[in-house]
Symmetry: C2
Subunit: 589 residues, 2 copies
C-alpha cells in the first residue's frame, strides 16, 4: 500500500487505511494505550496503539522510543471533541495502529528534536543530522529550495542559460586569499578554487552566449565572521549588450518575483537608489538599513567656529562632525549608559562620543557650555532637536565619523526597537568609487574588482586623480545587508591594461596573471556586465534567521572546521608524496 505523508492526513481521510513511515517525535503511555506522534518531512500525526485493535502492535509500541523509525499501518479516525488539537494541522484526527514495524532503532539523542533548541552550536554541528530534523531547519531548507527554483525559473524565462564554470582554476593573488589545490601531474603547481566565476563568466560573454547564470559555489580562505563561510553560494549572472539600467531592472524583476512567490509580499519597483557618498553621509554605511531613521547629520558648517575645540579642530583639519538625534530618549540614557556607547564608537577609531540632552529648550551636558545662542539655535534646527532628545556627536576624520556613527546607529536602532522587522527594504547603492587607496600598501586597489568599467566621463582622471574616478557599479542592499553587487565590465584591451597599470601591475605581471583575458579582449569582446548575489545571506534574510550557518546544510565553524566529519584532517604520507609536497617543520622544531 502506498505510503501516506503524516502531515497530510485530514478529516476527509477518516475511515481510510493508511501506511505511514516516519520518526517517533514523542511517546506517551496513558491508561493502557500508547500515543505516538509520528513525524516525517510533511509534519506530525498522532498514532494510537490500542489493545483492542492489535495487542501485537501495542507490544511493539512499548519498545519504541524517541527517533525510532517506524512503519505503521492503521485506520484514520476522528478525535474526540475534547482531544482535538487546533495547533496541529492533523489535530482533528488520529491513526489507530493495526500493524507497526520498527524500521530502525535510535539511541537517546544528545538533544531533543524540538522547535526551539537551547543546545550549544558546537553540539548541533557535531550532530548536524539531528539538528536538521528540527522543524525550523527543515523549513529553512525548504525555503532555500523554493527560492532557488523561483530564481532559476525567472532566469530561464528571460532566456539566460545555466552554465557550469570550472572549480579547478588559476590562482590570482588580486582579491581575497585563494584555497589552493596541489597538482599531482604538474609538480610544484597548484589550482585555485574560484572566489567567484568572474573571469569565466566574462569569457562566456566573449564566447557569444549573451546571457549566463549559475548558482555557483565560491571559496575564500579568509578569517571567518558570523556572516562568512569558507564556501558560499552566489547567484551569478552576466549579460552582453545590456545597459546598467537594464541589468538593474532585470534584478528588480527577479527580486520582485522571489518576494512574491516565497514570502507573498509585493515589493515596489524600481527600488530606491542612493549614491555611495550620500549613503555614507546619511547612514554611515555603504549598505544602509533604511527600515528606520536615526540618520547621521553633518553639522560641520554649524560648528566650524565653535569654542568647543574638539569640534572646530576636527573640521579645521579636514575632518567633520556628525550627529545622531536619539529622539525622546534623553531620560533613558544615564551617564553610564552613554559611557557604554562611547566604548562602542572607540572600536571604530573615534576618540570619544560627545553628547547633549535637550531640556526646556536648552542644551544640557558637560559640553553645553561651549555653545552660544546662535550655535545652539542652528544645531537645534539642523538636528530637529526638541525637549527630551539625546544628541550624540563624533568629530574626527570623515571615515571614522561615518564608521563609528554608522555602527552606533545600528546598535541603537536594534536596542530601541526602531526597526520594523516585517519590512523588506531594497536599495541600490550607486556611484561607487572605482579605486581605494591603501595607505599601508601604498597603492590603489579596485573597490569592486579590476574588471569594473570606469564611468566614461571620469576616464581622463584615471592617470591623474584615480581616487576621483567613479565605477559603473551598483550594489543591491536589503535591510542593511549587502545582498549583491554588479557592474559593467571593461571590454576594451587598452582600458583593461590602463586599469592594471593604475593597480600597480607591471606589464609582465599583468600578462602573467591575466594574459588570457587581455588576449580575449582583442577578438571581438562585446560590451557586457552582470551581477552576483550572495545566496546564503539572501536565504538568511528571507528565513528571518540571523546566523548564516543556519542557512547552510553542513557549515564550517569559525576555524573553518566541520565538527561532524572532523574535516580538515591529516592525510597519508603517500598522498603528500604524490603531490610532491612536504609539511613544514612546526615552529618549535
Amino acid at each position: 500500500m502506498e505510503r501516506v505523508k503524516c502531515g497530510s492526513i485530514r478529516k476527509e481521510h477518516i475511515e481510510q487505511e493508511v501506511t505511514l513511515k516516519g520518526w517517533v517525535q514523542k511517546r506517551r503511555d496513558l491508561g493502557g494505550l500508547i500515543f505516538i506522534d509520528l513525524r516525517d518531512r510533511s509534519g506530525l500525526v498522532q498514532v494510537v496503539f490500542n489493545p483492542e485493535t492489535s495487542t501485537e502492535a501495542l507490544q511493539t509500541a512499548e519498545m519504541v522510543r524517541s527517533e525510532f523509525v517506524l512503519e505503521v499501518v492503521g485506520q484514520v479516525v476522528a478525535r474526540d471533541a475534547q482531544t482535538v488539537n487546533e495547533n496541529l494541522e492533523t489535530g482533528a484526527i488520529e491513526v489507530v495502529a493495526k500493524e507497526v514495524t520498527i524500521l530502525n532503532k535510535a539511541k537517546t539523542p544528545p538533544f531533543m528534536i524540538e522547535e526551539q533548541s537551547e543546545v550549544s552550536e558546537d553540539l548541533r554541528l557535531k550532530y548536524r543530522y539531528l539538528d536538521l530534523r528540527r522543524k525550523e531547519m527543515q523549513d529553512t531548507f525548504k525555503l532555500r529550495h523554493q527560492t532557488t527554483q523561483v530564481i532559476r525559473n525567472f532566469l530561464n524565462e528571460e532566456e539566460y542559460l545555466e552554465m557550469e564554470t570550472p572549480m579547478l582554476t588559476k590562482s590570482t593573488p588580486e582579491g581575497a586569499r585563494d584555497y589552493l589545490v596541489p597538482s599531482r601531474v604538474h609538480e610544484g603547481e597548484f589550482y585555485a578554487l574560484p572566489q567567484s566565476p568572474q573571469l569565466f563568466k566574462q569569457l562566456l560573454m566573449m564566447s557569444g552566449f549573451e546571457k549566463y547564470y549559475q548558482i555557483a559555489r565560491c571559496f575564500r580562505d579568509e578569517d571567518l565572521r558570523a556572516d562568512r563561510q569558507p564556501e558560499f553560494t552566489q547567484v551569478d549572472i552576466e549579460t552582453s549588450f545590456l545597459s546598467k539600467e537594464e541589468i538593474m531592472a532585470m534584478t528588480e524583476r527577479m527580486m520582485k518575483k522571489v518576494m512574491k512567490e516565497v514570502k507573498g509580499i509585493d515589493v515596489e519597483t524600481p527600488f530606491p537608489r542612493m549614491a555611495y557618498e550620500e549613503a555614507m553621509e546619511r547612514f554611515g554605511s555603504d549598505k544602509p538599513d533604511t527600515r528606520f531613521g536615526l540618520e547621521l547629520v553633518n553639522i560641520s558648517e554649524d560648528v566650524q567656529d565653535s569654542g568647543f575645540k574638539v569640534f572646530s579642530g576636527a573640521v579645521a583639519s579636514g575632518g567633520q562632525v556628525s550627529a545622531l538625534n536619539v529622539e525622546g530618549k534623553a531620560d533613558e540614557f544615564s551617564r553610564k549608559d552613554i559611557d557604554k556607547l562611547t566604548e562602542e564608537v572607540k572600536v571604530y577609531g573615534a576618540k570619544g562620543l560627545a553628547w547633549l540632552k535637550v531640556k526646556d529648550g536648552e542644551f544640557n551636558g558637560p559640553i553645553a557650555k561651549f555653545f552660544g545662542e546662535e550655535e545652539t539655535s542652528s544645531l537645534k534646527d539642523k538636528l530637529e532637536a526638541k525637549d527630551g532628545d539625546l544628541l550624540l556627536f563624533v568629530a574626527d576624520k570623515t571615515s571614522v565619523v561615518h564608521d563609528s556613527l554608522g555602527a552606533l546607529r545600528l546598535k541603537l536602532g536594534r536596542q530601541l526597537g526602531l526597526i520594523d522587522e516585517s519590512k523588506f527594504n531594497f536599495l541600490w547603492v550607486t556611484d561607487w568609487p572605482l579605486l581605494e587607496y591603501d595607505e599601508e600598501e601604498g597603492r590603489y586597489f579596485a573597490a569592486h574588482h579590476p574588471f569594473t568599467m570606469p564611468v566614461e566621463a571620469d576616464l581622463e582622471k584615471l592617470q591623474t586623480n584615480p581616487e576621483d574616478v567613479h565605477a559603473e557599479a551598483y550594489d543591491i542592499v536589503l535591510n542593511g545587508y549587502e545582498l549583491g553587487g554588479g557592474s559593467l565590465r571593461i571590454h576594451q584591451k587598452d582600458l583593461q591594461n590602463q586599469m592594471f597599470e593604475v593597480l600597480g601591475f607591471s606589464k609582465e605581471e599583468a600578462e602573467e596573471q591575466f594574459g588570457f583575458l587581455l588576449e580575449a579582449l582583442e577578438y571581438g569582446a562585446p560590451p557586457h556586465g552582470g551581477i552576483a548575489l550572495g545566496f546564503d545571506r539572501f536565504i538568511m534574510i528571507l528565513a528571518g534567521r540571523t546566523n548564516l550557518r543556519d542557512t547552510i546544510l553542513f557549515p564550517k565553524t569559525a576555524s573553518a572546521a566541520d565538527p561532524m566529519t572532523d574535516a580538515p584532517g591529516a592525510v597519508d604520507q603517500k598522498q603528500l608524496d604524490e603531490l610532491h609536497l612536504q609539511l613544514k617543520a612546526k615552529k618549535q622544531d
Copy 2:
C-alpha cells in the same frame, strides 16, 4: 530602440526598423555594396550596406572584419527572389543598414568560426572563447541548459529538494584518489574535494529530508582518458523509504521525460533489465550496447573434449571458450585483417584469436582440421553459422574471454556499421556482485562503494563467501555507456561495521574514517537509497558527440591542464608559507 535578435527576423518584419547587435560572421564586397552576415546567439542575418541609404554606414562597414562586434540600425526588406537563401532561417529577408557602430574590433582569429572546424583540439582549448562561438558548440550548451532544466523540473514535481552539500570535506582513501586542499588554520591538515556527495546525501536522509537531489560537481584525481575529466557533474539523487523498484521507476520517468522534451523521442518504459552475469556472457561488458547483435556465444560445452587443445585446455583449467559470428563477412576479412583483430584482443590479455570461415557448409581455416563432424555440427547450430560467416574465438580464463571479445564486438560493430545511431537503448544492469577481490592487494574491494546494501538472502555468506554476495545495486546503461548507478544503502550500524570488516578495515580505521557515519546510523537512520547519473556523458550522448570535452565549457586536457588560463600554475612562497607547506626537492637534486 530595443534590440532584435538576428536569427529571429522573418518576412513579417519587412519594412520594420530594427536594432541588431552581434558579431561579423562574414563580409562580402559586391559592386559597391557590402554584405555582412551578422551573428548573435539566435543565428545569422544578412545586412546590406548601400551608398544610397547611408554613405556613412558604408564607410564604417569598409573597416569591418570577421568577429568585429557591431550595432546596426536598419530596415528589414525582402530579398530578391533569386537571392533568397533557403538554408538560412532569415534567408527570405535582409536588413538595409542606416547606421552602424563598431562596438569592438577583432584581430583575425587563429581559426575560422565555422560549423566544421578542422583545427587541433589544443588550439581550440587555448582559444576556447572563440571555439565556443561555433554553432555546434552553442547548440551543445543550449541542450545542456535545457536538459538541466527538464531534470530539475521533473525532480521538483516529484517533491525532491535541491540541496547543496560541502565541497571542502574529509579525505577518505577508499575509492579514487582525492584532490586535496591544504588548510591554513589547521596546520598540516587537508580538506578533500568530494568524489561524490555520497555520505552527505545519506546524512541528509538521516536528517529527515526524504528526497534530495543536486546537480553536483565532483572531483577525482585519476589519470585521464577521453571520457574522464578531473571535475565532472553528476545528477545526484537520494530517497528514504523507497524500494529499489520505486527508485528505478522514478529514474525511468525522468529519462522518459528528458528524451521526450529534449530529443522529441518516446522511449518505452520500463527499461529492459539484464543481470550482470548475463551481460558479461552475452556482451562481454557490464554496460552492453544493445543497439546491435553480434553477441558472444559460450561454446565451452561443445569444445570441452575437442582435439584442439587450446579450446579443451581452457575449459579444463576453469576458463571458457566464447565466439562471435560475424555473419556474412567471411570474404571481407583477409588473414591480414584477422591478424589486426588478433592484436586488438591481445590488449585485453588474450593469447590469440582463433577463427573459422564457413563455406559450402564446412569450416575453413587453419584450425578446421581439429573439428570432427559432430563438433562442427553442434558449433554450427550453437552459432547459427551459415555459408559466408566468419567465426572468431577466444579461449582463456573467463574475464579475459569477456573483456577481449566484448571489446572486439564493439570494434566490429562500429567498423561494419552494425550500430543504428538513431537508437537510444536504455538498459538496467542488475544483480551485481557486492565485492571484488583484488589479487594484487590481497583483499576485497566494494564493487560500487562500501555503503551498498547486500541482498538480504546473501547476508549469511558475507563472512564465509564474500564473493558470492550480491548487492542491491542497479546501473543504468545507454547505448553502451554507463549512464549512472545506484543502490540501496546500508542503514544498520552492525551491517555497516561488518562491511568495513570484510573490506579489511580495523575497528580503529573504520572509526577514524567513518565514525560519524557509524554514529549517525545509531540515531534513527531510515532505509534509503538513490542513484547518480553522469551528466556530462549523458549530454555527450544526447548531443551526438563523442568527446566528453565538447560537453564541458572549459575542460582540462589529458594532463589535467587548462591551455587557456594555463592552470595549474606556480604560486607565491607567501601562499605556501601560509599553508605550512614546502615543495619537495625535485628528483635530480
